[in-house]
């Protein structure tokens, strides 16, 4: 895969994956996102950033959006444009009401903050844009991630 020559994307190309709300299946979305990003010519370090961000978005969708109800799917829509890859991760939850505070390792180490709660922070830190959009009528909420193809990386 690493020797595959990247193909310039001249118009939007869309790939969709539907996952069961079962932890572990986020790796299917990671692999798909990785394959698309490599075809677009992303550097390996950016592909790794994207994989982690997509994994965390899928885990949040499974755990918090769909409450691990395996009857509900998580949708992952990857839209490859000429200079960016957009990923929407869609669940059947109401979406988040407010952004959690930035995690503080000192507070965690002193037992003043739950050791968990790192997912949204990692997503925001690893991609160029991250937006959480609540669904209408409390359903089909999604997170939209964008990672830009750095023109200098060719």
């Amino acid at each position: 895969m690493s020797e595959t020559k990247s193909t310039p994307v001249t118009k939007s190309t869309t790939v969709e994956v539907r996952l069961p709300s079962r932890l572990g299946y986020e790796k299917v979305a990671m692999s798909t996102a990785s394959a698309v990003a490599k075809l677009m010519g992303f550097r390996e370090d950016r592909v790794e950033d994207l994989k982690t961000a997509v994994a965390e978005a899928c885990i949040n969708a499974m755990e918090h959006g769909n409450r691990l109800n395996e009857g509900l799917c998580v949708g992952v829509v990857l839209s490859a444009g000429p200079d960016r890859l957009e990923v929407k991760v869609i669940d059947d939850g109401r979406g988040i009401r407010k952004q959690p505070a930035t995690p503080d390792i000192d507070r965690k180490m002193h037992g003043e903050e739950n050791p968990r709660g790192l997912g949204m922070f990692l997503i925001q830190a690893l991609v160029d844009e991250a937006e959480w959009v609540p669904g209408s009528e409390g359903k089909s909420s999604y997170v939209r991630l964008v990672i830009r193809l750095d023109k200098e990386q060719d």
């Binding site: 932890l23 299946y25 790796k27 965390e56 390792i105 000192d106 180490m109 790192l118």
Partner: protein
């Protein structure tokens, strides 16, 4: 779907003569890894071992739940007066651990040899 986390503990002596426990992980580190991470750590004697090395060289995937388990391990080690160091993380997870702030409480090294040499 998630690769089961395997872990084992080895004891060795650093070049400077410190007794060191090395906790070696293999597989994914995720929410299902509690026994492999915390259970294995808790088997290390706290009175005699004051330095713990975490070996991530055979770990491909760590998610936020897995990182939270590592933080819990660091809390327990801090409470027991133990110092923790880690090695074998990929460049990506080295970056992630640094972003989260883990490097403030656990030094990261590329390899076991470099970690032991620094103790």
């Amino acid at each position: 779907m998630q690769a089961e986390t395997k872990s084992r503990v080895e004891q060795l002596t650093s070049p400077a003569g410190h007794d060191v426990a090395v906790l070696r992980f293999e597989g994914d580190i995720a929410s299902t890894s509690k026994d492999a991470v915390l259970g294995a750590y808790q088997s290390i004697p706290k009175q005699s071992i004051k330095i713990v090395l975490l070996d991530f060289s055979k770990v491909d995937y760590i998610n936020s739940s897995g990182i939270a388990l590592v933080i819990q391990l660091l809390i327990e080690a801090s409470n027991a007066g133990q110092k923790v160091f880690a090695f074998g993380l990929s460049p990506h997870f080295t970056k992630v651990f640094t972003m989260v702030g883990i490097t403030k409480y656990a030094g990261l090294f590329p390899s076991q040899a470099e970690a032991l040499a620094a103790l």
